[in-house]
Symmetry: D2
């Protein structure tokens, strides 16, 4: 369609995407009696030449979202799920290369971890049971995340985690801040520092010509560095802790160039027990819900360009 044939419109279409969100796929792999689980929540977003479906309702370029759902399940069988990242790469490549009007695919995946139920202690011996290798309990800690974007040429992989709640019961201070007419906060020289980590890191890998990172190992290592930096930083502000977590990962993991954090400051207020004749020596805290401080920042390898969107929250 040439520009001439296109009717002039007072209201035009901007960026748009569509797909099936939250396809819950569980894949069981059997190695004899030993089973393995991958438990994913896969969301597909496709974009390309989609003007007509918006303007006139013509679906001639629209692969149904139902088909994208079917593809997720079929690919779990055809390609297996080696890692969330590798699975997303298979899906994104498929949509972009198999459908002419689709120019870009973005696959977002949440992964839920499971651990084996232990049955091999003294008690199970008494019951005469063999060790069970098909029984699992959901780990329930953080949710692992990845987002794969492909435009037919370049890859962008942003992985991370959310809902990882951490706390330091000491080695945190907050003082020397600006005071204005609305400031009533007292300086703190020994406080609890707690947050629920949301972190997304971008891999430098972007081309089929380069070897991929080991996604599983990279996740484990990034998570470990993040936790250790949180634990080992003597903190004068949550911002400082944030930077330490980010720089530790980038310094330790050459495959990661950029990290975006969103860190709610989960306030733990020391309860005033003096009205009851009691001294609260940093022992009893009220864990508050709202409001909360919200600290967000990108840290990145010097010389690289930031690409991760800055809004990880809607609040």
């Amino acid at each position: 369609m040439t520009d001439q044939s296109r009717p002039s419109r007072p209201v035009i279409l901007g960026q748009n995407q569509y797909g099936k969100a939250e396809n819950r796929v569980v894949k069981i792999t059997r190695d004899g009696n030993t089973h393995h689980i991958k438990d994913l929540n896969v969301s597909v977003a496709l974009s390309g030449e989609m003007e007509e479906v918006h303007y006139s309702g013509s679906n001639a370029h629209v692969l149904p979202t139902d088909t994208t759902k079917n593809t997720v399940y079929a690919f779990a069988k055809e390609h297996g799920i080696e890692s969330a990242e590798q699975f997303g790469i298979h899906l994104a490549r498929h949509f972009v290369t198999s459908q002419e009007p689709i120019r870009q695919a973005r696959i977002r995946i949440e992964e839920y971890a499971w651990e084996r139920i232990e049955t091999s202690d003294g008690d199970s011996t008494l019951t005469g049971a063999d060790e069970v290798k098909h029984s699992f309990v959901r780990k329930g800690q953080e949710t692992r995340l990845t987002q794969i974007t492909f435009d037919g040429e370049r890859w962008q992989v942003i992985s991370g985690l959310k809902d990882l709640t951490v706390m330091n019961s000491t080695n945190s201070e907050f003082w020397g801040f600006v005071k204005d007419e609305y400031t009533t906060l007292k300086e703190a020289h020994d406080r609890i520092l707690a947050t629920e980590v949301s972190a997304k890191w971008r891999y430098s890998w972007s081309s089929d010509d380069a070897p991929m990172p080991n996604w599983e190992n990279s996740y484990r290592q990034a998570r470990k560095h993040l936790l250790q930096a949180f634990a080992e930083t003597y903190s004068l502000s949550l911002q400082q802790t944030l930077y330490q977590m980010g720089s530790r990962i980038i310094n330790s993991r050459g495959e990661i160039d950029e990290i975006r954090f969103s860190l709610p400051n989960k306030h733990h207020f020391l309860v005033d027990l003096e009205p009851f004749g009691l001294k609260n020596d940093n022992e009893v805290y009220f864990a508050a819900d709202r409001p909360y401080g919200l600290i967000e920042a990108t840290v990145l390898r010097d010389g690289t360009e930031p690409q991760i969107p800055v809004d990880l929250t809607n609040l």
Copy 2:
């Protein structure tokens, strides 16, 4: 600080912001015995010269998030809450103009609507009660949203709503779509179309030199046009309905230049009753949770530049 005095770092700081999120403020205004409510959830995000608090933990440029909370409550008294937008404008201006290191403020507000409890019917006459003007029930429909951003010079106001669930029980079709090897969906010539509208619209107003829109009336009108366009569109795809909702607002409201929608397709599947010897003549539906289609797009006035971030969801 000059570039020379700044130590060279292998890992640098990118975009960052901080503030107090989810300050729940309820303001009662009394007009004699007639009371009025404004019920807001206010989140503050400030950015500026904040390198040192990240690198060294120095809080010398940091106005505490606790102070930003206090400011919200004090401003509710000092300025009142004429509208969420006007309240956010007061707050953003204050932070940017009163604190040298703060170069930009973003205020996000959720507003919850209340309606009066009616007491003036026959029954209350029997009880002898006067009409009550201080008693409310939460409306419970959509949540109204606004986001005010100010850099000391230019304003950006993006308002909207979320969680407005709508349904057409007919006048929706879906056919003529692409079929590939993973397509099993049947064409539909009379289906339910339901979605939970998330919409954010950007006002063209950006300078103190221009008169502000009437925020309250603009919201009411935009919401009305959105609902009417949903109802009156004979839909061949949810994308088409989306475009109709957006263009109706932009055509009707000169103060709005751009709208971003995120529309989950809340699938209602016709239940197969044939195994029970029953014919389901578009009567009985299963309302599914996951997965769901997710349709997202920006529509904008021709000649304007899109500014609303495209990611309104994390899935």
Copy 3:
């Protein structure tokens, strides 16, 4: 099976029930171009002679939960959905009378209200559209509830609502309470009273020999009386308001004998603005999340026996 043939067990089975929970059924009724919606979430719980499925895994007495789901959808077609209560009565009667081992059925239903999208104003005239009678927006206020229990002979119908949030901005006090060594609360002579009403009322109707109440009208009237009693009560305690809401319903509705309330006291704390040189004359409040007062009570018609379970919450 006689008691002799049953093996003696050190651990026995107590009360048990099973079924399919949260069957989401949407029923469209067409009256020409005018459509009507019923939107329900139906949960089935069956009990009876179910020892063997627990002890040995024999399913010989077990109607699958999948079948109970199918029955919900088939009955929506066969019987229609006149009201949630009437629909539950059809279902409960079916399970108890058609399956010998099933001795009792309990049907719980949540109902979500919808209202029509208005299109008949001046604007839609301009667009030339006829009035639309198939387009709806979810009301989003309270969720209506009912629970039907049938043992083959007697009926018990408990209906109600949850998530109805109400607020009085004055006419509430709290003083004259007990003070012990842990009491620091100041007396209040003009405070906000807000709660999120959860109420369940029991109908006296219990036999097929008696005429049923008009379920739809009874719900509307009970809800109206509850709201008006909340609005019109000058409250010295939330307990007093609770009793007034309950007694107003029982006095006004002869078909209702008992009501159970669970009322969280949604605290709105007057913000101390004195540090900022401002006087807060009952204008600016902080709406707190947790902790909250929780007031629960049954009120009932004198001479009747309470039957509604007292635990409506798990906290």
Copy 4:
């Protein structure tokens, strides 16, 4: 007050209770540099001579819910938190014995588990950090529960857990069930069995004259037996698995007499891949949300009376 002086009322008060719900208390215990956390959510419900506050609004018998909150925090200091059960016993005894009008106290507690962040591996050696003993990550698996009830004489302790999600990827069948006219389900001879365990167990301990159980050890052991029974049971129905979990605990733990389970059957449906020319050999599953089977039952030691309320869910 004698019956004669009490006005006759057409609507009377039934069971009632009040208190402060969801007091979030975090207690840090310092053993040198090694810190320990207890993280609780405590809800207090008191009942007794409370007619007047309902009928007339007189608060003369009402200890404010604010005071019950203060007591929770003061007791965390005065008594410490040895276990949730022991803490609840201190609180319940206090309210009943210190306030004449209060005849019964019920304390419900949720406990959130934390584990230490490990810093003592090779990496932290490289950074030169000592091992950190004040840094924690929330475990995030099940929530531990307890409910303490005291009437001044007898104790009832019901403990348990919720949100513990488990899955067997084989050794589960479902066949031999009843078929009626609405049955379409096919028999299954190898299926996934998954559930989110909600379990509440009652201790036989009820008097100050008897020694208390070791609450911490009892919880760990009950949880272990529950998980092992789930893993080791070859299941013909979820009911059978439920009974095995319950009887394993009661047989192994003499201090526990009764358990109530609420087990949603988290359906994992084998995806039909035949339309795509693929064979799904128990590999690829769709994890469904709603509807779900819901299996609930009490199991108890022969010769004891059931006391745990049967409604653990509102659906």
